[in-house]
Amino acid sequence: MNEGKLTRESRAPVEQAALLPPVDVIEDASGITLYADLPGVSKDRLHVQVEADTLTISGEMDLAMPQGMAATHAEVSLPRYRRSFTLSKELDPEKLSAELKNGVLKLRIGKAAHAQPRRVEIKVG
């Protein structure tokens, strides 16, 4: 009968709790540069994803802890980071480059050609 209503098949996956990495975002004439602090994340555990107009940065820390270690003081309480941003239309996801160095991600997103700045001439009549 109405079984389909009771079992939702397309349920969104439950997201694990993650740290919100601090970022700097700078815009210049040709694009946006984003820096994110992701200490402990190696290149193969970092994910940068653009879906529709949402940019998601996520990463898993590579923690090789000695066996039998008991934490006595913890300021970083989760082993993963995640943060999302909404991109505006003038940014071109095709013009995206990422660089990871010393635990800092540098992301560069270029602007679409039509969105590059033009100086508007003001005519004095």
Partner: protein, 145 residues
């Protein structure tokens, strides 16, 4: 408080508020000031044979980090340069949350550690310092005669 009038990311602002509240409310048990919210963030753990310290130092050149151990006090210090150095006059900074400037964090260690058996490694902006316990303090199995 650095809240903008038109918040771009409500959760980021909430996270910031949470941090600030935590800094303000939490009583610090150490004479050396606030134990939390500093840069670099620290995690400390212990095993029967060693003490492991993890300092989160993203964007800092490992060669520029100074780790000192003196009279049972471990100091991690250095400087993180601003990533906004190349910002031109026409560029705009939309979000600025990352730490910049000099940093220094101090940890008091327990007496049973061996100051000569310290190892420090830095990878992906994570500094791992391992200090062995003195041989006399390590757990031993005593055989019954």
């Amino acid at each position: 408080m650095d809240f903008s009038l038109f918040p771009r990311d409500v959760f980021a602002d909430l996270g910031r508020l949470h941090r600030q509240l935590q800094d303000a409310v939490e009583f610090s048990p150490s004479i050396r000031g606030f134990a939390r919210g500093g840069f670099p963030a620290l995690n400390v753990g212990g095993t029967p044979r060693s003490v492991e310290i993890y300092a989160y130092v993203p964007g800092v050149d490992p060669a520029g980090i100074e780790v000192n151990l003196e009279r049972g006090v471990l100091t991690i210090s250095g400087e993180r340069k601003s990533g906004l150095g190349g910002v031109g006059a026409k560029d705009s900074v939309h979000i600025e949350e990352r730490f910049t400037g000099k940093f220094r964090r101090v940890i008091t260690l327990s007496d049973d550690l061996d100051p000569d058996a310290v190892e420090a490694r830095c990878r992906d902006g994570l500094l791992h310092i391992s200090i062995k316990r003195k041989a006399a303090a390590q757990p031993r199995r005593i055989s019954i005669q």
